[in-house]
Assembly symmetry: C3
Homo-oligomer: 347 residues x 3
Amino acid sequence: MVFTLRQIANLIQGDVLGDADISINMLAKIQDAKSGQLTFLSNLKYEHYIYTTQASAVIVQKNFKPKSNISAVLILVEDPYSSFARLLDEYLKLVNFNKVGIESPSYIGKDTTVGKDVYRGAFTYIGNNVTIGDNVKIFPHSYIGDNVTIGNQVILHANVKLYERTVIKNNCVIHAGAVIGSDGFGFAPQEDGSYKTIPQLGNVIIEDDVVIGANTTVDCATFSGDSTIIGKGAKLDNLIQIGHNVEIGENTVIAAQAGISGSTKIGQRCMIAGQVGLAGHLTIANNTSFGAQSGIMKNVVHEGQKLMGTPAIDVKHYFRSYSAYKDLPNIIDRLNNLEKKIQPSQK
Amino acid sequence: MVFTLRQIANLIQGDVLGDADISINMLAKIQDAKSGQLTFLSNLKYEHYIYTTQASAVIVQKNFKPKSNISAVLILVEDPYSSFARLLDEYLKLVNFNKVGIESPSYIGKDTTVGKDVYRGAFTYIGNNVTIGDNVKIFPHSYIGDNVTIGNQVILHANVKLYERTVIKNNCVIHAGAVIGSDGFGFAPQEDGSYKTIPQLGNVIIEDDVVIGANTTVDCATFSGDSTIIGKGAKLDNLIQIGHNVEIGENTVIAAQAGISGSTKIGQRCMIAGQVGLAGHLTIANNTSFGAQSGIMKNVVHEGQKLMGTPAIDVKHYFRSYSAYKDLPNIIDRLNNLEKKIQPSQK
Amino acid sequence: MVFTLRQIANLIQGDVLGDADISINMLAKIQDAKSGQLTFLSNLKYEHYIYTTQASAVIVQKNFKPKSNISAVLILVEDPYSSFARLLDEYLKLVNFNKVGIESPSYIGKDTTVGKDVYRGAFTYIGNNVTIGDNVKIFPHSYIGDNVTIGNQVILHANVKLYERTVIKNNCVIHAGAVIGSDGFGFAPQEDGSYKTIPQLGNVIIEDDVVIGANTTVDCATFSGDSTIIGKGAKLDNLIQIGHNVEIGENTVIAAQAGISGSTKIGQRCMIAGQVGLAGHLTIANNTSFGAQSGIMKNVVHEGQKLMGTPAIDVKHYFRSYSAYKDLPNIIDRLNNLEKKIQPSQK
């Protein structure tokens, strides 16, 4: 994909300072950009790179005053970072949505509706009574069970698995190997010490603009009519476990290998770091932040807290306690000394 | 699937109080049940719902005395919860075992035996010298390596991967993306700092009534003739790691993202919570319970203990220590004060 | 696969003490070996087994003096353990590299080059502009995206997923369900509280002799031209998360369920135990060892340290502090006593 600088400048409403007819074939960061590539300068601590870059063009803030000669053509904009992000975004669409059509062999069941501009890779499986919107891209080996509904502009990367009844809304991206709608972990203990499987008859609903990472698992709700819900705009990293009946609020971000136990409700705009675990049946307020590897065992009632540890406490408190913890052998020595001084006869 | 109330009442040996000819098409919980659906009342804190439910029928204890009018038909039984669980169970069988036959394309190797009423979804792969029992359901994209043996009534959900020599007994369910029989993590250090792969020639045996969660991995044993064993009735959640030569006892339950290192033997009826990690070569007594995120580094010799923390200690002790831990900055202040009073000249 | 003892002795330059024409069909450990099998005796604490083993032959050190009759034929070598490892290695090659040819159906794109002696299992997908070396074994359901390069002697087990642009060098083994090259977790916060996806345009490079475990995920680098790099000889276990732009040094070993956040650089010959988590943008010195479940939040500058805990500290310090931690309730009692004695009037 090759564009002229003029085409690019039009897209981001920038002014070209130099030859607008040169060709650009790639975006790169300023340290690495080569001839034929476009980069940007936003944070001025990287300014020195602009005088030596081999990039063919650089997006800069329109009031930027060079201290020396720049060989690259400049595009002047209000906000170089946003403009560059916008271009990356357009590039992403070109890359991700460029596949169309049906590769063979692929399998499609009965009573299934498929929108326009859909890509169905080889070895994709679509069950019965499935509805798929426009511009959906289904990469090879993906599995779509019976009665699944998928909106528009959804990307299922290679080998995504959607159990039956899953609902995926618009503009979602699900990465390779993710499993959506597997059985919740529900077993009723029996008198003989064994467990009876409780059928899991609910589903999973994934709202608009959600991203789900590779090999992440999201269990379905237990009862028919109930749903595990991943809220609008939530971003989930790789290898995350989401239990049955969990609800994740809008724009909440969850890092890799975190786990949310059954029936826990997470608020909006929360930040859950890597390897965090939450117990079941909790309610977590909006804007809560959990540090890496934290273990959460209680509801979080007040919004905006930063918590850490197992069980999780205020992050500043956590680090003060941890600092004391490292000092514990010394604390015990001091205590021994005091005891000797005060109760010498008892020792 | 539609049944009359009479059919349902017969199955659970209940008495119908009302019209036994009405049709039921779904089971639901009492808060959510709609017309055409069947629900149950077991815990009386939900009693108020029975007077307003739109469910067509409700299973109740036979001595239940309504305080007001109930529009739903009642089914009277000894134990409503068990009766409802029984129905869910039957429903589960209908749902899970209703697929039969071979979808195309699918692959089957040489010298392979397949029982009756088997479902082989599209894009399933069955290797050479494989034996598959009756009523086995192999969902799309599942992979069954050479020399695998599978019993009766086993469900392999989409894209389960069984390495060669794996043995799965009867009534097991393996969820999407699980990997059974991958190489154990065995490498012999060499003098130059590199590692030599130790071939992993054993297998995995999964006993009757085991459930394995989505994207869980179970490694094979190292030596030929040895097995990693998941005992009868064990239930494993999603994203769990089971190392080579591990043995999991009967009816042990393991929650999501826990990891068991190589050669560790877990007893019967243990409860291992989420994100727990066990070191290798340990022996864990029956009925041991580990709290979430615990790290276990020693054998557990006495049965029935509840442990928590890293390294794991008695759970009550853990919470007392954690409470003191949170108080550590304050403890240090108190210690400073005492030292000032006692050794003012030394300060 | 059956060999004579003479063939085996030649391979490991051993001398046969007994009938060199007997047939061997399997390798096993000395406790378990049966007739027709070959085993070895290296650690003399297992010596008693050699007098009762049913193995047809045993590899022993050439100066070994039996204390009693041995019915098995002996092969005398310098180093029994190495010789046995060598045989296992040869056996592994025979087992892993014995599949050749193309099973049907399989998919191959345009402008793709495939070397000789390659196995392409049924339902494998190879995209456009892919280069595959000699003796590569691609098991069923594996997915190879566009513009991927694979060297010689590489094994992709069932259902490995390689996103586009991935580079795999020689002699690598990737286990079932692993995902290589998925999008890094990069999202730019917007003013309205939502997040914008940052396109991930880099790739993953896996150097020679790397092993990657089942269902492990390795994200691609963010910028075009950048790579996430798994160094030569590194061994990764199952269910590991490797973030975008991470670099893993040569011969570093990572146990199951560990997670490395974006842009962290790990040195050579490090040992990272199970469920360890590393924050992003760290640099870890060569030969660093992290204990299980550790959380690493700072650079490790000095080589050869053994660290543990969250945040990680010297492992001996960690265990001393943990020992004091368990004693904390008692420490508080002692402190209370001291305070009562010193400040009785203030209590």
